[in-house]
């Protein structure tokens, strides 16, 4: 496990992403776009993406958003959702739309790991269930896309965050913390039930 806390500031640069290693604790300051099941399916089906995702980060999150009377939005809760559901689609988004990272929980599979290596992306793991801590890091909601088509929690919310805390669990060098921990725990398990 790394002891250093890395700061990642907007605009995100590919070299900085390549420098990240599994186990790094990262504080992200800048933009991110939420996107979960419906958005990934929508992109996969070949629909035009309403926003330029090049060098951006996608956050697997279905936020609780309140619309204020002046038309502005406020995020009430914004914890990560389980990422593995996007496993069939994420590698394509990395290939076709030039994203630099994905934030979620629970990790992703081999296809995504390979795409991270090939296109220079990382998988950031947010702290599952920490809705309040994470909502406090979101400073503004700047835009929303596809809300009319996929509904509020599934929409693409463009947000500005300050020091949003995550841990790199899949890097662009083919390493996955999830694979390492699984392998280790399976060995211990075999020993424990001998």
């Amino acid at each position: 496990m790394s002891e250093n806390i890395v700061k990642l500031d907007y605009p995100y640069k590919r070299e900085e992403i390549r420098a990240l290693k599994v186990g790094d604790t990262v504080l992200i300051t800048g933009k991110m776009f939420t996107g979960r099941d419906a958005v990934h399916k929508y992109i996969h089906d070949g629909n035009p993406v309403p926003v330029d995702l090049n060098n951006q980060i996608i956050y697997h999150c279905g936020p609780v958003v309140v619309e204020n009377s002046d038309g502005s939005y406020e995020i009430k809760a914004a914890g990560p959702t389980t990422s593995i559901r996007e496993e069939p689609y994420e590698w394509e988004v990395m290939r076709d739309h030039g994203i630099v990272g994905v934030i979620g929980k629970g990790g992703m599979g081999a296809k995504t790991l390979a795409a991270c290596q090939e296109y220079g992306c990382v998988y950031f793991h947010a702290i599952g269930g920490a809705a309040q801590v994470l909502a406090e890091k979101i400073k503004s909601v700047d835009n929303v896309y596809l809300k009319e088509i996929v509904g509020s929690p599934e929409a693409i919310w463009e947000m500005s965050v300050v020091e949003f805390p995550v841990v790199v669990t899949m890097d662009s060098h083919g390493n996955s913390l999830h694979d390492e921990v699984l392998k280790h725990s399976q060995e211990v398990f075999a020993d424990l039930i001998k």
């Binding site: 496990m1 790394s2 002891e3 186990g23 604790t25 936020p63 609780v64 009430k76 809760a77 914004a78 914890g79 389980t82 593995i84 929980k105 629970g106 990790g107 793991h125 702290i127 599952g128 269930g129 920490a130 809705a131 309040q132 801590v133 406090e136 805390p165 841990v167 669990t169 913390l177 999830h178 390492e180 921990v181 699984l182 280790h184 725990s185 399976q186 211990v188 398990f189 424990l192 039930i193």
Partner: protein, 370 residues
């Protein structure tokens, strides 16, 4: 359906009781006649019996008054107070971590090695609990399945109570203590009120006490997805129909759940029973406090062993690797059929939200149960 059935069952029970009472009286009289020949003795016995009966009657009257309506309070007023009580139970459950769970989380934070991602994760979790409490906002955005356990005296109106609970749940959702979390399984429609077929879950238990206790668990979806049921023997794991086999499948379930379901988790386990009831009793274990130990010696030992063994797996908070994989393990046992041997494992995330209130005679909160 369940409520109706229970009601019917009650009626039957009541009838039986009445019969028994009659039977007893007859027997007593007979016995008295046979045994006590002296007139004085007879009188004494009768008086005693008479006294007892009077006492019972008084007691019954008091009970009725206490439970249904307090003097000077109309039924409508009682319902209003009860509504507020349920709403407060929901708010507190969703926003305030019970002390015993918070304590084990802080202990886990202290246990993790300094400057690791495991410690980092536990630190954020601990901070999150504090913010939620201060702001009175949900600890986690997934406010889960609402599982009510209601302990009530004889003669309690379950139907009326259920209606008040549903009203309170709708209100709690409007106020943001609960996420709009109940979806029509066939159409995918979310009416945004958290009520509907099977929601919220309400388990009624009749007890011999006068008072009313209402307990609530919020069971998150991500952790629910990691729950698992085994049927022993399990050949690949070489797990037989004994406690050693049970231990093997529990640890296997934990290895499978890793990284998902927001660990460090808590396990509620039922050994035996059938598939449906097994999970039901497994979930019931989450009503036990973290320091509660099974009264069954073998199970107490297994609970301890599972936590110690699990924390050797190195899975850690969020599956980042680390010392804390499991915060607690609560096991119960039920009879089974000769053909079956189930181990039902309910997985709870770190956000183990549970609260309960002893409800006073006027419908207000007497004291918190956790």
């Amino acid at each position: 359906m369940a409520i109706k059935k229970k009601k019917m069952a009650k009626k039957v029970v009541k009838k039986k009781v009445t019969k028994k009472k009659v039977a007893k009286k007859v027997t007593k009289k007979k016995v008295a006649k046979k045994v006590t020949k002296k007139k004085v003795a007879k009188k004494v016995t009768k008086k005693k019996v008479a006294k007892k009966v009077t006492k019972k009657k008084v007691a019954k009257k008091v009970t009725k008054k206490k439970v249904v309506v307090k003097k000077g309070q109309t039924p409508a007023e009682y319902d209003k107070v009860l509504f507020k009580t349920i709403l407060e139970v929901v708010r507190k459950t969703s926003t305030e971590m019970p002390d015993d769970v918070q304590k084990v989380i802080l202990k886990a934070l202290a246990t993790e090695a300094k400057a690791t991602t495991a410690e980092y994760a536990m630190d954020i979790i601990a901070k999150n609990i504090e913010i939620a409490r201060t702001k009175s906002q949900p600890i986690c955005q997934d406010t889960g399945t609402l599982i009510f356990n209601i302990y009530h005296p004889v003669g309690f109106n379950q139907g009326k109570f259920s209606k008040i609970v549903k009203k309170a749940v709708v209100k709690a959702t409007e106020m943001g203590y609960l996420r709009q979390n109940s979806v029509d399984t066939l159409t995918g429609e979310n009416k945004g009120m958290n009520i509907g077929l099977g929601h919220p879950v309400m388990n009624f238990h009749e007890h011999n006490k006068k008072g009313l206790d209402v307990k609530l668990i919020l069971k998150g979806g991500g952790s629910e997805n990691m729950s698992i049921q085994y049927s022993l023997p399990n050949v690949p794991l070489n797990a037989g129909r004994d406690l050693d086999g049970v231990r093997k499948v529990i640890l296997d379930g934990l290895v499978k759940a890793q990284g998902k379901g927001c660990g460090p988790g808590i396990l509620g386990i039922c050994i035996g029973s059938d598939r449906g009831e097994g999970y039901h009793h497994a979930k019931e274990q989450f009503l036990r406090t973290m320091d509660d130990i099974s009264p069954v010696k073998e199970l107490a030992a297994l609970e301890k062993d599972i936590v110690e063994s699990a924390n050797k797996l190195g899975i850690g908070p969020m599956g980042f690797g680390g010392k804390t994989t499991l915060l607690g393990c609560k096991i119960c046992v039920m009879n089974r059929l000769p053909a079956s041997y189930f181990v039902s494992i309910s997985y709870m995330c770190w956000a183990s939200r549970r609260q309960g209130a002893a409800v006073k005679a006027d419908g207000s909160i007497g004291k918190w149960l956790y």
